[in-house]
């Protein structure tokens, strides 16, 4: 998410929306949505949990306004208050030509994977996100530099998308986009997410867009829905366009009545700057061919089962993890092949309306650090 360093941008978009509304025909429609989550995380295996994780209590609030301009055009603005202050999570126009072709222009979350479709805290039953998409609640965030592709990933650009209905049972969704892409500093060894959310970098850092695409096949059979998706994104992330990256992912969602089985896998290949003296910069020496390998590989996976016990109570079991292979900077606590696995058991209780109480316990199993336990208690509400 991007910090709104220039609050005027969001305000301007909102004013534009309101001004346009007055001039719009009478058949226009405006929708308002919002959500809130207050989460408290404890790390009982540490005396001071914040030494290896975010501060205990975090709040996320989002407010979204969507204005329809007839049947084919709409505009959306969404503001979020999260760990990074006020941020513009959406500011885009949608133009629908047909079911098979829509355009989205502005600031949005490009289509990648399955979880980002429900990344709002009101839309998932655990307090935190799966590790491949972690954006700050994982233990040892500093050492791991978050997940493979933190969610929600918000960026500026243009997206073409559509859906083709082969029959009443089979639907193919697809999207392609060009966005600013992840950012890193000159001579970087990984993405720097702080650069991606600072307001001045609403403008791309290297004037070369990243491109990506997603396809998802949806099959409906009786009370069962199966969605199978594949995603990809590639580009450069440093100001000089010297350092490239590629991300690929596959996802599966099986819904049987109200039971959900979700599985997702992401892999990112990222080029690191070797610097002028790799021996002083890196922890490990040259590979078998006598040269320093400038790439590292980061993989993430998530398997989750969500089972409703009754109308108010859901139980969630999750197994997710990360693996990083490749050289690391000399100061890194990770090795050349590091991994973390996490086991989560949680429950979500609907209190009233869309207000929920979330409870979860997590066991982290690290290859480079001692195991940790994290406990989450959260209250979530939605409009």
């Amino acid at each position: 998410m991007i910090q709104l360093r220039y609050p005027g941008l969001g305000g301007l978009a909102a004013l534009l929306l309101l001004a346009t509304t007055r001039l719009a025909p009478a058949d226009t429609e405006r929708n308002f949505a919002g959500s809130i989550q207050l989460d408290y995380m404890a790390v009982p295996t540490q005396n001071v949990g914040r030494t290896i994780a975010l501060d205990a209590a975090t709040a996320e609030v989002s407010l979204k306004v969507t204005q329809d301009f007839g049947d084919d055009m709409s505009a959306s603005v969404k503001l979020c208050v999260g760990c990074h202050g006020v941020e513009a999570a959406m500011a885009f126009f949608d133009l629908r030509v047909a079911d098979e072709l829509s355009f989205r222009v502005g600031r949005f979350t490009p289509q990648f994977g399955s979880f980002p479709l429900r990344s709002d805290p009101a839309n998932h039953r655990t307090s935190d996100k799966p590790l491949p998409y972690d954006m700050g609640r994982m233990v040892r965030i500093g050492e791991w530099n978050l997940g493979v592709l933190p969610s929600p990933w918000v960026d500026n650009g243009v997206e073409l998308s559509g859906a083709h209905f082969f029959s009443e049972s089979i639907q193919l969704d697809y999207a392609g986009y060009a966005i600013g892409g992840p950012r890193g500093a000159a001579g970087a060894a990984d993405f720097d997410y702080k650069l991606s959310r600072s307001g001045e970098n609403y403008v791309d850092n290297n004037s070369r867009p990243s491109i990506g695409a997603r396809v998802a096949l949806n099959v409906l059979s009786g009370g069962t829905t199966v969605t199978l998706g594949a995603s990809g994104m590639a580009g450069t992330y440093d100001p000089q366009n010297h350092l490239d990256y590629q991300i690929a992912g596959g996802d599966l969602v099986v819904q049987i009545s109200r039971i959900f089985l979700r599985a997702e896998y992401l892999i990112r290949r990222t080029q690191m700057s070797l610097g002028s003296d790799p021996a002083a910069r890196f922890k490990y020496g040259p590979g078998k061919n006598g040269a320093y390998d400038p790439y590292f590989l980061k993989q993430g996976y998530d398997a989750e089962l969500e089972v409703p016990i009754d109308d108010r109570l859901d139980v969630i079991g999750r197994w997710d993890g990360l693996r990083r292979q490749g050289n690391v900077l000399r100061t890194s606590a990770l090795g050349s092949d590091s991994a973390v696995q996490r086991y989560t058991l949680g429950t979500s209780v609907r209190l009233r309306g869309a207000t929920r109480l979330k409870l979860s316990g997590e066991l982290y199993d690290f290859t480079d650090f001692q195991s940790e336990i994290a406990v989450h208690v959260a209250v979530t509400g939605a409009l």
Partner: protein, 185 residues
Amino acid sequence: MRVLRGVAAVDRAPGARAGRRATTPRLRSVTAGCALAAAAVLAAAAVLAAAGCALAPDVGPLLPSACSDADGQPGSTVSFAAQIRPILDRPMAGCSCHLPAAGEPGTATQQSGLSLGSYASLREGGTNSGPQIVIAGQPCASILYQKVSDAPPFGSRMPLSGPPFLTSDELQLLHDWIAEGAANN
């Protein structure tokens, strides 16, 4: 459409066998969905696992540490006020991310909770660094030195506007000041 035919075939098979109780449409749909999902997951996992193995980086053995905590010039003492303060105070391409705003003393911006406005605030460290920002006598373990060197332990190398980064002489001054005890001299 091929997928639809596949689903139908799986649906028909159990109930078509003589002597077996016909499954309900709901159960058949669940079976079909799970079979389709399992096949897809297995195929995708095989492809991705193969890709992951093929892309595994080629990494050599662990290197000995190139950083030494020894003072580079034991015969002389680095002054915080005269030699380190000017390095910290120098505007980096207009950014003073950890310094008081110009003309407004005491209103440090403190990006990441780190203020370099005074010796005391420097030693307090920031959100990520804390007291590890400067460990007297151990420049190689001090986050201040690590963050301006070629191997920052987290985030980007400082100053963020670099290059240019600190010169080798400036890095050596910072190193030696910490190696000598990081005094407020």
